[in-house]
Structure formats: structure tokens, C-alpha cells
Symmetry: C2
Subunit: 202 residues, 2 copies
């Protein structure tokens, strides 16, 4: 069996975990460049100085690597979404998320590309996005209800407004990725919140 050069030693435990995270971040970069279908394990391996065989030691398949990318996003989301007391985040905190997103275009690009690809036939990220949207709409409705009760100032229910908040976040990301100078994503999101409640969030 050939013994390819390994610039970094492969170990398990904490070192192995750090290496896995490094690979997942490299995969996110490759997806942002070429999409998931266009991504190759060879390109990911090259970014982290591994052979393709060495990469398969950490992630046995391309789909395993995709799942790790999506799981990492979920972990970030949990960090953003749940305050220290375990309650869902407040509406004001959603502004913080959008502001943070405006400083992490690489991550937003990866997930916008995956979202687009996920509507194509038999895409492995499709179940993830379907479930994610259901969950996020539910969480957003809880956030809206905690702030305004069963009717928002407009007379709409939290369940009517929740998909709109999610749609605004996704839709603004595409416009902003295409025209970062022309689209102020946090300012647009705050304008949307003024539509929901001109008083509370002016």
C-alpha cells in the first residue's frame, strides 16, 4: 500500500476533532465555489493538505461530508437562536443574527448555494432543508408570540408572519450576495420589522 505524504499527522481525539472541523470548513469553501454537485473530495483534500484517501478516513463519502456541513450550521444556529436561559431568541436578537450574517458572506454563500441546489432532483440536502424550514418557522412563530401574543399589530397571527420573516432573511441574502454595495441587508431587515410593528422596533 502506498504511503502518501501527510503534511499533518492524523490522530483521533481532540486533534482528530480539530482536523474534522478544518475539513468541514474546507468543504464549505469548495461548495461556495462550485456547489455541492460540482464539489470534489479531491478539491477538499487538497485544501487541507490531505490525500483523498486520507480524507476518506475522516468522512467515508461526499454525502457524509455534506451532512457534517449542515450539522455545523445547525450548531451555529443553536448558538444564535437560544439565549442563555434556554428560551427562543427575541425579535431584537434576530436583528443581531442578520447583522452577524452581513459579516460572514462566505458562510452565507455556501448555504445559499446549497439551498438553491436542494430543490433539484433527489438532492441529498433536500430532507435537511424541508425539516429545517418547518422547525425554523415554528421557532419564529414562538418568538413572535412571545413578543406580541396571538395577534401582531397588523392583525396577522404569528403563524402568518413567521414564514415571511424566514423568506425575508433568505431572499435578502441572495440580493446582497449579488450586490453587496447596493443592498444593506441589516437595514432592509430592520425596515421589514418596522412593517411588523412601527412602534416597538422603530
Amino acid at each position: 500500500m502506498p504511503n502518501p505524504p501527510r503534511p499533518h499527522g492524523v490522530r483521533h481525539g481532540a486533534r482528530g476533532q480539530a482536523r474534522r472541523e478544518e475539513i468541514v470548513r474546507a468543504a464549505m469553501e469548495v461548495i461556495a465555489e462550485r456547489g455541492y454537485r460540482g464539489a470534489s473530495l479531491a478539491a477538499v483534500a487538497e485544501k487541507v493538505g490531505l490525500t483523498q484517501q486520507g480524507l476518506l478516513h475522516y468522512f467515508p463519502s461526499k454525502e457524509d461530508l455534506l451532512i457534517a456541513v449542515l450539522t455545523m450550521r445547525d450548531e451555529w444556529d443553536r448558538g444564535d437562536r437560544v439565549s442563555s436561559d434556554g428560551n427562543p431568541m427575541t425579535v431584537a436578537q434576530t436583528v443581531g443574527v442578520v447583522e452577524a450574517n452581513a459579516h460572514r458572506s462566505a458562510i452565507i454563500r455556501t448555504f445559499s448555494a446549497l439551498l438553491g441546489e436542494s430543490v433539484t432532483e433527489d438532492h441529498p440536502a433536500e430532507p435537511y432543508f424541508r425539516e429545517r424550514y418547518r422547525r425554523v418557522r415554528g421557532e419564529m412563530a414562538a418568538t413572535l408570540r412571545a413578543q406580541w401574543g396571538d395577534r401582531l399589530p397588523s392583525g396577522l397571527t404569528p403563524e402568518e408572519v413567521a414564514p415571511l420573516v424566514v423568506a425575508i432573511m433568505d431572499g435578502l441574502q441572495f440580493q446582497w450576495l449579488h450586490d453587496p454595495e447596493g443592498v444593506d441587508m441589516p437595514a432592509s431587515f430592520r425596515a421589514f420589522l418596522r412593517l411588523i410593528d412601527p412602534e416597538a422596533l422603530a
Copy 2:
């Protein structure tokens, strides 16, 4: 030179134009299945009963075919967007567009997939989407101004609300493609219009 079977004769003029449109529609289907990067000219050719060589007679490259797909969408948009008197469409007409979209998931799938891919590196559809968004935001601001003047009932300007209308349309399409039973796209869009003006569009 081999003479491959041609189930349909290739001709120019009206027949050639119909054939081009048939090819563009087949390309849209293949993009909805596999994305643009994943689409092959061979797959498009097969759908319309042409050899790949026969297809190149109509579209010399894959990128030419992409441009034809995007141009066809612009032509549909012009049909939707401009009323018979040449003015930009009214806000009420935007509801009609969203309702029509809810009955053409194949087309929405193609363009949602292309939108997602277009944020990846050096994608040939990137300039199209960047320009399209600028134009559509401008047209939407004109539509809002025609209905409400320089300030909407919320106090926001047409230029502040225009990117939100566009974002809602795009974002709802992704949620609806992933969960057509769980997301009522036209109802959600009408709910958004009630946020803009609870009186005029209730």
C-alpha cells in the same frame, strides 16, 4: 460524416424557432433536475430527440443555451409585468404573478436552482441575476410609488420596501418548493401586502 437519425427534421424559419423553444424548455427541465453545472448538452439533446451534434446546430455552447433560458424568463416577465398600456404593473397584479407561479413549479424550480448556483464562483448566470435584481427593485419601487406616493402607510419609502417585496417572492418560493402542502405561497404573499397596507389590500 455520419448521418445520425433525426426523428424531427431540422429547419430554419418558424419551424426552427419552434425547435429552439422546445430545446430551451428541455434545458429548463434538465436544470431543474441537475442544476446548470450538472446539466449536460447530451441530456438536453436526448429529451428533444436530437444528437448532441444536432443540438449544437441550434446552440453552439452550453452557455448559449443558458442565456436562451434566462432570456425566455425575461420575456415571460415582460408579459407579466407590463400591462397593456405599457405602465409598470400594479401591486394587485403582483398577487396575480405569485398566484400564477404557484401553478408553475417546474419553472420556479429551474430559476430557484439557477439563483442558488449563481452565487458560486464565476457562474455564467451571475451577471444576469445581479442586473435582474437591480432592475426588478427599480420597477417594484415604481409600482409602489404609483400606488402610495413617496411614503407608504408604514412611513417607509418605496425604495425601502422594494427589496423586501422581491425577497419575499424569492424566499417563499424556496419554502414552497420544499413543502408545497405546508406553505400557501399566494396567501403568504397577501399577508405580506397587508403588512404594507392593512387598509388598501385587506
